[in-house]
Structure formats: structure tokens, C-alpha cells
């Protein structure tokens, strides 16, 4: 399967676990990447501690079998990550990795991925009211040439992108300088509108969630706002589409099922052909090498004549079934691995 565009969902979920779970569940078939600002954290368990009788709490952000979660780990609670990125497991061939060696900050995720022979970056930012992420990025000059998209919740109101707001922000220049240094342009959405709805009647709705896209991208880059999907968060989700270099994300593999007709044919083909090998007359190393190569091609031919191409899809049957659960419970109760 060839991938040419990436569909990216970005939203500030306001630490809402239910919303996070719903996004993960609903987006698994139509989104490639989910960028989350202010991800939820929930208590997993309390582990025994030297200092606290009740134990040290362990927090985590929701995980999902169809998504790989990229989040910075920090034992200090006040430093819990404010951004999280989920990548669809269908894209594992693109080798996404979190580049903590470039940016190790709770409010910024820099992800690298490979498309064809190219290395590309995606930046997910949550810049709080103090603009700590923006200041950090401007202090620590980063050189990421192939940034495809930088998006997130920037918390900057400015007339440049919000026509209903008459002022300019002191942080705008910093933000645009950063985007320029990464070779990115601020892109208006296809359907302009507020990206955050005010909590009370005194305030007005605002545009503070932005997307910066590489203008030199050979294909296209665009994004739309989906205000009808924002609840229960006050931020509107952005759905960004960017083109990337053609990449093969085929996860199929060759296999022969156990106890199948193919397996019987496979064994029979090999047995029949091995019996034709003339081993008694091997006199030299070259002869031996040739015979073993012949053996290798017997295996190879039999394999490719009987193996079937398989692919794990959303319709694939999960390998873990009820019997596995029963066996595991039995093992846990009795410690007996035989039955």
C-alpha cells in the first residue's frame, strides 16, 4: 500500500479522558496522526514508596491498541507532558520516533518519520499563557529542515489571524520568527472561524490554534476546522492534510498456517526434492557448496509455491482469544504451565 498524504487531527482536549478515548476510537480508520494538547492523565496505581505510606502514584495518558502513544516521561508531576502524539499503527513502516534529543520539553513534541528516502518532522506545541514553549524554542535554536507541519494551541491572539480581535500580540513576532526559521508558513484554514469558544459571556471566541505548513512541499497542505466536533472541550479540532513523498506502508508478510493443506504440500515438496539430491558423490568443497545451494533453492521454491501473503487489517481476527485468557488465569492460580 502506497501512502502519499497524511491526515492529522489536532485538538486541545482540556485533559478530558472521555473525549480522548472517543477520538482514539473514532479516528482509527480515517486519521493517521492525532496531536493532542493538554492530554488527560489518570492514576494507574500506587507503587510502594520509601517516603510515602500510601505509595507513589503512577499516572498515564490513555493508550489504545490501534495507536502508538508518543509522550515525554517525567517522574515529577508538575512536569507531566502537556502534549501527546498518537500515530496509527498502520504507519509503523514509516518509523516514527520521538526526538527528545532535539527538544526535551513538556510542552513540545518533535516527531521524526521516514517517507521514502526522506526524513520529515512534525511538531506538536502547547504554549501556555506564559508562552514557555515558544520562549524555549526561540532560546534553543533547532535546525529541522524538513518540517512538514507545526501545529498546536499557541494561546496567542492577534489580528493577523483573528479578524475579530483588534490588537496585535507581543509574542506574534517570536512565533513567526520560529516558523520562518523552520521554513514554515502560517496557513489560513479552508473554513476560517474561532478555534476556541469562550467559557463565559464576557469573553469572545478566539483563534489560538494554528497550523504552519511547509510552502515548499511539492504537493499540497491544507486544513479545516470542525467546530461541530469540539465538545466537551472548548477547542475546535483541526484536521490537516499534507502530502508526503510516496512511501510503501505495506505490512503484509508470507506465511504457511500450521496444520494446513499448504503445510503438508510444503513438507512433501521438500521431502521429495531432498531425496533426489546426490550426496554420495561430493568430492570437493565446490560440490558441497553447490549441493547446499540446491538444498536452499528446494526450501525457497517450496516456500514461495505454498506460502500465502497475509496482511493484518482492521478485519483480522485477534490472536488472543477466550482460551488464552482461561489458560493465563489457570497458570496464575496454579503456576502450572503444562495444562
Amino acid at each position: 500500500m502506497i501512502k502519499e498524504t497524511l491526515k492529522i487531527f489536532s485538538q486541545n482536549v482540556r485533559k478530558n479522558k472521555t473525549l480522548m478515548n472517543t477520538i482514539l476510537k473514532n479516528s482509527k480508520n480515517n486519521m493517521d496522526i492525532i496531536l493532542v494538547q493538554e492530554p488527560p492523565k489518570s492514576l494507574i496505581l500506587c507503587v510502594p514508596s520509601y517516603t510515602d505510606l500510601t505509595g507513589d502514584p503512577i499516572y498515564s495518558t490513555p493508550n489504545h491498541p490501534d495507536w502508538t502513544l508518543f509522550i515525554r516521561q517525567d517522574p515529577a508531576q508538575e512536569n507531566y507532558a502537556q502534549v501527546a502524539t498518537y500515530v496509527n499503527k498502520k504507519l509503523q513502516k514509516m518509523r516514527f520516533t520521538l526526538r527528545l534529543d532535539i527538544i526535551n520539553h513538556r510542552d513540545v513534541n518533535v516527531l521524526v518519520f521516514h517517507s521514502g528516502q526522506h526524513i520529515n518532522y512534525i511538531i506538536n506545541i502547547y504554549s501556555n499563557d506564559n508562552q514557555s514553549a515558544l520562549h524555549f524554542l526561540n532560546r534553543n535554536i533547532i535546525d529541522l529542515n524538513n518540517t512538514v507541519v507545526m501545529t498546536g494551541n499557541f494561546n496567542i491572539r492577534d489580528n493577523d489571524w483573528d479578524p475579530n480581535y483588534p490588537h496585535h500580540s507581543v509574542h506574534t513576532e517570536d512565533l513567526l520568527t520560529l516558523a520562518e526559521s523552520l521554513g514554515l508558513d502560517l496557513l489560513p484554514p479552508i473554513n476560517p472561524g474561532p478555534t476556541r469558544f469562550a467559557d463565559n459571556l464576557r469573553d469572545t471566541n478566539s483563534v489560538i490554534d494554528l497550523a504552519f505548513i511547509n510552502p515548499n512541499n511539492s504537493g499540497f497542505g491544507q486544513y479545516s476546522l470542525y467546530p461541530e466536533l469540539h465538545r466537551p472541550s472548548d477547542h475546535v479540532p483541526l484536521i490537516i492534510e499534507v502530502s508526503i513523498n510516496e512511501t510503501n506502508i505495506d505490512n503484509s508478510f508470507w506465511s504457511i498456517s500450521k496444520n494446513s493443506k499448504e503445510e503438508k504440500n510444503f513438507i512433501k515438496a521438500i521431502t521429495d526434492n531432498i531425496l533426489t539430491l546426490d550426496i554420495l558423490n561430493i568430492m570437493s568443497k565446490e560440490n558441497l557448496e553447490a549441493i547446499v545451494q540446491q538444498l536452499a533453492s528446494i526450501f525457497n521454491e517450496a516456500w514461495y509455491s505454498q506460502a500465502k501473503k497475509k496482511c493484518i487489517t482492521k478485519h483480522s481476527k485477534e490472536w488472543w482469544n477466550h482460551a488464552c485468557t482461561e489458560s493465563l488465569n489457570r497458570y496464575r492460580n496454579t503456576g502450572d504451565i503444562e495444562h
Binding site: T97, L98, I279, L288
Partner: protein, 256 residues
């Protein structure tokens, strides 16, 4: 939706080698190769072998079919095969045909006779697996490489290994303090031996202390010339020594 599935290991960070992130495949290959084969081609001093007495010559009879059946019986049918896709399960089915087994035994005998290990048996695929329970996975040392060889070659290797162990034990070449990897010796034996030493010390009113250490990269740092000299000293015939020279040379692997 099932939220309580077994959680995958967090292999989400870029691998760093000597402070640099490995982004391209050549970089990654260099990092893995340099980490896992760092001890390759190091010079060694073999003079201490001179103190070891030369063992008596051992005869190397032809392999029997039973040796192969014994060797394969202990192999797990569910382990992953090498590049030729032949698993132990397939090989176990193959050798139920007696003539087929006879052919494989003949190939093994010819290999020893011609002192040659064919190149097909040297091809391998190295799979890099994250070590469990680490806080992060950003260095090659936090991964465990496993080399998957072609199974037919491995079966012959197992038969040779069993034979070597039997013969070297029989002529007393294996040190009595070697507990690991030897049949009928186990970690429990090492524990019993250690407690015996400690108790013997206590009987003599001594204070006992134990110094334990681990040798990093032990198997990759084995020197093949040294191994040949050892085999000669152990009294193995020249066929076997030359066979191992061929066995250790011109090997290649791919990472996946």
C-alpha cells in the same frame, strides 16, 4: 474496547549513538554493528595456553541418525526460523522420513570430511529486541540482538556441539569449575560449590567474602584463532580444527 491488553514496550525514542541520533539506515547499522561487535579483531595473548597440557587424540566417527534425532527433540517448534523460513516444526516433520534424515546426516559428515561449512548455513538475520523493563530505549545497549540462522545448519551445529561436549568431557578437557552451558551441570551446582567453599572457610575460622563479576560482550569477543588452538590442545583431529576455521570465516548478517 479492551483497555487492559498487554502494553507494548515504549520504544518511541530515537536511538542515540555517541551523542548523535541515528536517523538514516546506514547510521543505525553503524550504531548497532559497533555496539554488538565492539570486541571484534582485538589482539590477544595466547601464551598462557602453553601451560595447558596437550590432551590425547580423539577419534571422530561418522554421525549417526540417532544423534540428529536427539538434537532436534529438544528444539522448540514455535521458535522463529531463519531466512529460509524452515522452522524446527518443519524440520521435525522432514526427518520423520528416514531417507531424508539420512541425506542431512550425509551432508553433515561431508562437511566435516571436507573441512568446509557452506555459505548458506552462514547467512543470518539479526533481530533487535528491546530488553524488558527499561525506562527508555534510546541506546543500542538497551536492545538485545538475536541472530536467526538457517535451521538445517543449526541442526548440524547442534549435533557437532553435543559430540564436542561429550568428547571433551570424556578426555577431561573441560574445567571442573565450568558450570554454564555444560550438560548435567547447572547453576545449582555452582551454588552448592560456593556454599561448600564458604562453609569450609568458616570451619577454619576465616572470614569469607565473594567477588562476583560479569564479562561484558563475552561471546562476541571470542577470538577464533584462539579457539582453534584450544581445539588442537583438546586433542580433536585436524579435520575438526580446519572445519571450525571455515565455520568462523566469511559470515554475514542483516538487521531487521
Amino acid at each position: 474496547m479492551n483497555w487492559v491488553k498487554k502494553k507494548n514496550l515504549l520504544t518511541i525514542e530515537s536511538i542515540l549513538y555517541e551523542g548523535q541520533s541515528c536517523n538514516t539506515l546506514p547510521d543505525l547499522w553503524h550504531a548497532l554493528h559497533s555496539s554488538y561487535n565492539s570486541a571484534k579483531n582485538r589482539p590477544i595473548n595466547t601464551s598462557f595456553l602453553n601451560e595447558t597440557p596437550q590432551a590425547d587424540q580423539i577419534l571422530w566417527p561418522l554421525f549417526s541418525k540417532q544423534e540428529f534425532k536427539d538434537a532436534i527433540a529438544k528444539c522448540s517448534s514455535s521458535s522463529t526460523p531463519g531466512l529460509d523460513h524452515i522452522s524446527w516444526r518443519h524440520l521435525k516433520s522432514l526427518i520423520t522420513n528416514d531417507r531424508c534424515l539420512q541425506k542431512i546426516v550425509q551432508i553433515a559428515n561431508v562437511c566435516i570430511d571436507l573441512e568446509f561449512w557452506p555459505s548458506h548455513f552462514k547467512l543470518s538475520n539479526t533481530v533487535v529486541i528491546p530488553k524488558p523493563n527499561k525506562n527508555n530505549y534510546n541506546s543500542p545497549k538497551l536492545f538485545q540482538p538475536i541472530v536467526l540462522l538457517n535451521t538445517t545448519g543449526k541442526l548440524i551445529e547442534k549435533a557437532i556441539s553435543n559430540r564436542l561436549q561429550f568428547q571433551l568431557s570424556a578426555n577431561g578437557f573441560i574445567d571442573s569449575h565450568q558450570f554454564g552451558g555444560i550438560q548435567q551441570r547447572s547453576t545449582t551446582d555452582a551454588g552448592i560449590y560456593l556454599t561448600r567453599l564458604i562453609r569450609a572457610g568458616w570451619l577454619r575460622q576465616c572470614h569469607m567474602s565473594v567477588l562476583a563479576f560479569d564479562i561484558a560482550q563475552f561471546f562476541p569477543s571470542l577470538n577464533y584463532q584462539f579457539l582453534s588452538l584450544c581445539l588442537k590442545k583438546a586433542g580433536l583431529n585436524t579435520n575438526i580444527v580446519w572445519f571450525f576455521n571455515s565455520y568462523h570465516s566469511n559470515r554475514s548478517t542483516s538487521y531487521s
